[in-house]
Symmetry: C2
Subunit: 240 residues, 2 copies
């Protein structure tokens, strides 16, 4: 194991790349339409790479609203509804009511507007274990409830990431193993898409979690193999 | 019908009053703890009436955060976790990621912190039928996902509003009718709490909706009576 020289930046897939690919597959590059993006730098970079036009990033304070009434009745949209082909929602520390309202209006006023979520993780890890850091999940949930629309979720365990990987590397599922540290995203992703699966115990989930899933008949979250950590595989390979 | 002189401001119940009452019943007035409030003026007024201390209302821009990294790892809380006895979430046009993160941290870091939602309506009506105005529902959903906690929902059809009414007027459910224009909130509220129910057809739901509910065995959303509108009851009373 370790970082083999053939593993370059291009060997790594991030959800942002899959978002851009999913937008492309949905045909957004064949239109002149723009993407309303609730998200941070990573997703912006990938959209830039594919020359997809987006708007809405960064702070969008409610103070721009001249209305002093508690409810916002009229919304000044940055772009006309008919020019917006997709709403993408990911982690965004500048998320606010204003962005929520814009996203909901683009999605409701034009049913053909695509709704993509980078992932639905509830929280993300940080240096201080006591501090809860909301991830994209809560923001996606808000847009979902306000718009009544279901997003295409790009992150594991959903299919867009698998489509992207297959398309890019032409993998053979029968000869591919999914290794990860979460039963509900990594293992499920592998099992749902016909791969062998291995859980490493150095992260989120442990053997107890596998047993729980087995007891609860959640077979799609039970890996075929497990190992203490990724490094534990190294001696096996060296002996081969 | 009409506005009888005996009907005063005190005859009207709004969710904000029920929020304050629910906080009181949960014992918050017996502590020195404060309420973290995501909400607008109506809820503030009712908490003021009961001398409950709250904080967090109005704009809370992320720019106060000196951190320029995309993720917010450290959160400067206005109040220490142990001083916060409840998080209340309602409609708030100043809702943002900062408020979401604070709410989640108060709720996760202290399990005894109460979580109350004024209502879970997805959107609210406005003067322009084309404009979607997100109501409290999307904001509550975001806090729920980020904190992994379930709120006590005060609005119809949930029980806190019924408790409040019973407590205040000592009504006899056998001699009380719930009249409203929505099957999923008003009629369900009445049926769940042992009242007679009447749907008026001048608002959201129609006879077709009653029939649909009946076909789908949603008996708790089927009223015993219906009328064209509230005014349609007047001649009957005059003849009596």
């Amino acid at each position: 194991m370790g970082y083999h020289p053939s593993i370059t930046k291009d060997s790594i897939v991030n959800p942002a790349a899959v978002v851009a690919d999913t937008l492309n597959r949905a045909g957004i590059h064949r239109t002149d339409k723009k993407v309303y993006l609730i998200g941070s730098q990573g997703v912006q970079d990938e959209l830039d790479n594919l020359n997809l036009e987006y708007f809405g990033t960064g702070p969008d304070p409610i103070s721009r609203q001249s209305d002093t009434r508690p409810f916002i009745y009229d919304l000044e949209l940055d772009e006309e509804v008919e020019n917006v082909g997709a709403v993408v929602v990911g982690y965004d520390k500048h998320f606010n009511y204003h962005k929520l309202m814009k996203a909901a209006n683009y999605l409701v006023q034009d049913e053909s507007c695509i709704f993509i979520a980078t992932n639905t993780d509830e929280t993300c890890p940080g240096p201080n274990p006591d501090t809860v850091i909301p991830d994209a999940g809560p923001l996606v949930a808000a847009v979902q409830v306000a718009s009544g629309r279901e997003p295409v979720v790009v992150g594991k365990p959903h299919t867009p990431a698998f489509d992207y990987i297959c398309h890019r590397w032409n993998i053979n599922p029968d000869r591919t193993m999914m290794i990860g540290d979460r039963t509900n995203t990594d293992v499920k992703f592998g099992r749902d898409h016909g791969l062998r699966t291995m859980l490493v115990l150095s992260g989120c989930h442990q053997v107890d979690d596998i047993v729980d899933n087995q007891m609860n008949e959640l077979d799609d979250m039970v890996p075929e193999f497990y190992a203490d950590c990724l490094g534990a595989l190294a001696p096996q390979r060296n002996r081969a």
